[in-house]
């Protein structure tokens, strides 16, 4: 299937958000998932594209491991993670025969798959597409940005921890970084073992734990994104 065959697959997507971090393990997939759920609770249709080929975490976080991926005329059909079909997901995790199989690919092959992922998934009409990336600044990121460039992504969400080394872990570092870089600081999410547990078990954290300290933080971040993206009637 040629990458250029279906230029229209992203035409129905209103806004694209890239979730990044230089450092691994800071919570990109967690934030991507929670952001998607928060936007869904605000009545939006959301897609999640998981381009972490070596460590695809999102299927498990949405209790969708092992789901089959089907083809249609326009390309791959993303997996719906909920009954109402308001959240759809595409991840290399769905394409592995065995979940413990390592994807040991060099750059060029990863780039080829990412191009396919970006252009060959039949997303349909979406308000938001959240693109979760692996840690670092390398092949996957360049391939993703290049493939998304024609569609003018909304912007990037950079996830960090407070420690200087990316920094139980201290506080204030992310805000400092945002100030230093002259970009808006969207919020801090406190560590909550319930959030971790929810993700491990693929449950809807936002629905189940409105009393968690992480809940107001996550919903506030989602609200800032909703406020920054006026409904586009293109």
């Amino acid at each position: 299937m040629e990458a250029a065959a279906e230029p229209g697959n992203l035409a129905g997507v209103q806004h694209i958000i890239l979730v990044l971090s230089g450092k691994g393990g800071v919570g990109k997939s967690t934030i991507s998932t929670q952001l998607a759920l928060a936007l869904r609770h605000a009545g939006k249709k959301v897609g999640i594209l998981d381009v972490d080929l070596c460590g695809p975490s999102i299927p498990r976080m949405l209790q969708s491991q092992g789901r089959a991926v089907h083809q249609c005329d326009s390309g791959w059909v993303p997996v719906f993670v909920d009954q109402e079909q308001s959240v759809s997901l595409m991840s290399v995790g769905f394409l592995l025969e065995k979940p413990d199989e390592a994807v040991v690919w060099r750059g060029p092959k990863k780039n080829a798959l990412i191009k396919q992922f970006v252009s060959d998934v039949a997303w349909g009409e979406l308000d938001y597409l959240v693109v979760d990336t692996p840690p670092g600044t390398s092949d996957e990121h360049m391939a993703t940005v290049e493939a998304l460039r024609p569609y003018r992504p909304l912007g990037a969400l950079v996830v960090t921890t407070p420690q200087e080394c990316t920094s139980i872990f201290s506080s204030g570092g992310g805000e400092e970084l945002a100030r230093h870089a002259g970009v808006p600081f969207l919020g801090s999410v406190p560590l909550d073992p319930e959030l971790t547990r929810s993700l491990e078990e693929g449950r809807d954290f936002i629905q189940e734990f409105p009393k968690s300290p992480a809940f107001p933080a996550l919903t506030s971040i989602a609200q800032k994104i909703l406020d920054a993206t006026p409904a586009c009637l293109s």
Binding site: M1, G22, K23, G24, G25, V26, S29, C54, G55, S57, R60, M61, V69, L95, P99, D100, E101, A102, V103, V104, W105, R106, G107, P108, K109, K110, N111, A112, L113, Q116, P134, P135, G136, T137, S138, D139, H141, M142, T161, Q163, E164, C165, T166, S167, I168, F169, S170, L191, P193, T196, R197, L199, E200, E201
Partner: protein, 309 residues
Amino acid sequence: MEEVPHDCPGADSAQAGRGASCQGCPNQRLCASGAGAAPDPAIEEIKEKMKTVKHKILVLSGKGGVGKSTFSAHLAHGLAEDENTQIALLDIDICGPSIPKIMGLEGEQYVEDNLGVMSVGFLLSSPDDAVIWRGPKKNGMIKQFLRDVDWGEVDYLIVDTPPGTSDEHLSVVQYLATAHIDGAVIITTPQEVSLQDVRKEINFCHKVKLPIIGVVENMSGFICPKCKKESQIFPPTTGGAEVMCQDLKVPLLGKVPLDPRIGKSCDKGQSFLVDAPDSPATSAYRSIIQRIQEFCNLHPSKAEQLISS
């Protein structure tokens, strides 16, 4: 899924460029032409350079943020406490080199007389510069590190890697293959989201025939310094590293609890083992380091075997 490329047969395999899985790969023509078949001369050169390096340990994880660099740094610090041992720490995390910061180095390369460090972090003009390189360029840098750095007489070379199973990992294993790697230490946290990736890493090791020294479970419980009560910030919902190690029959080297002072020591570039000698995390580190030394001594390199025979 026929459209999804299955495992690449390898640029140097007889199937290179010709296999069913090569269809659509941008390198197909190059591989089919046989360009990948000739062994890289650097491999022999690196083998020569590595003759003076007794033990080589790779620190891996599938997952990011589990504490590989923290562990590598403290493994280096711990081993270097013996003044008669020469330690070298190589940071091949080209996109996110943490080692210079954790070791408190801004350009100098020697932490102690017997502990030297090499990292791409030293080559950046500013610590905030992003290194946005594609695979082939990263491989070139790793080759240079291994071949062109004058390592000298080293008892332990510790290689800190980025998360994942990609160019850097393949390259370092390929380049060091003929020079004998003692084994890999794999780092995880108790969470299933981490174990998921670590199982893949273990499979990677099996695939490339890299011996596994063992697994370290990091951030394993938090003991409050005031009330001494233990909490599980990252609950082992699927049994943690212990169950995974039993299932996959790999040794569990130890569990390191979360101590907020570890992060602080790293931010200051100091050895946590020295900063907090009484911490349960320090005892955990020391016991793990000892087990790693025992493994290395039980499995001497060919060079050592020749010398002692």
